[in-house]
């Protein structure tokens, strides 16, 4: 595993997320997020999760972000719609709280001995390995996810429907 690739992808991911949370314009934020999802897919490839990397690009960058951009264009926001109230105290408190959380997590994680990754077993992360596990050990979770998607479709249709008061 080339460390330069890790550092490049990690830098792009963090930079784009920082740019997104400082954005006022949702379209620019969505574009930053798409770039960050692509570099996360690169990190998944470095971790030999090739199928997940493909799914990351197809589902996140392809489907979810297109849905976001579609809704942003559908709302047809004006310049004055993008103006939001500022709360400096909230922002300061949030900065301190997330700084404390990241310090705590880093301290906890570095208690794990820093061993390098072991040699991966043959067929690690392939569609075959994931599929055979999904339809044996995790078959109930798979069915429940299918049900959840159905509920999501019905909910989205009901929420997006124009109400008729007659």
């Amino acid at each position: 595993m080339n460390p330069y690739f890790f550092y490049a992808f990690a830098t792009i991911t963090v930079l784009m997320v920082v740019l997104m949370i400082l954005q006022k314009n949702p379209i620019t934020g969505a574009m930053c997020l798409i770039v960050s999802f692509f570099s996360l897919a690169g990190l998944y490839v470095l971790l030999e999760a090739h199928f997940i990397a493909v799914l990351q690009i197809l589902v996140y960058a392809g489907a979810i972000m297109v849905l976001f951009i579609f809704v942003i264009m559908f709302l047809n926001l004006k310049k004055e719609d993008l103006k939001t109230g500022r709360r400096p105290f909230y922002q300061f408190a949030a900065l301190i709280a997330s700084g404390a959380l990241v310090t705590f997590l880093v301290v906890q994680y570095t208690k794990i001995p820093p061993v390098s990754f072991p040699e991966s077993v043959a067929g690690f992360g392939t569609v075959e390995a994931i599929g055979s596990l999904m339809f044996s050990k995790y078959v109930i979770a798979f069915e429940v996810i299918g049900l959840l998607l159905l509920v999501g479709i019905i909910g989205a249709v009901l929420l997006g429907k124009k109400e008729n008061h007659d």
Partner: protein, 112 residues
């Protein structure tokens, strides 16, 4: 325990730490975004970043333990993220239709 100097000597060697710390940083950035952003669309995008950082943790640990189970969890998280985005954006559309605003401060009619 490993002495501190060892960490710096193997600095150019990517270990599980690097991925876990990156995931922690991404999680906190997403959380920060949810709190400081007042634009409801960007808040939803920050929730996607939170889910992605969880996925990164699972996939790094799956590689560490050489087991594919973490990849399965990542797929389920992706499905949940898709449902959450669809429902959340549906809510945003109906809120915008009623209030003509995407500022979270304007949606306070249920505040006690």
């Amino acid at each position: 325990m490993h002495p501190r100097s060892v960490d710096f000597e193997i600095h150019m060697h990517v270990s599980i730490h690097h991925y876990l710390v990156l995931a922690a940083v991404l999680f906190c950035l997403g959380l920060l975004g949810v709190i400081i952003q007042r634009n409801i669309l960007i808040m939803l995008m920050c929730i996607e970043v939170l889910m992605n950082s969880i996925n990164l943790t699972f996939i790094a640990l799956a590689r560490y333990y050489n087991q594919v189970d973490g990849h399965l969890v990542a797929i389920f998280v992706m499905a949940i993220a898709a449902v959450e985005a669809a429902i959340g954006l549906g809510i945003v559309i109906s809120l915008f239709r009623n209030r003509q605003s995407i500022d979270i401060n304007d949606f306070n009619s249920m505040r006690g």
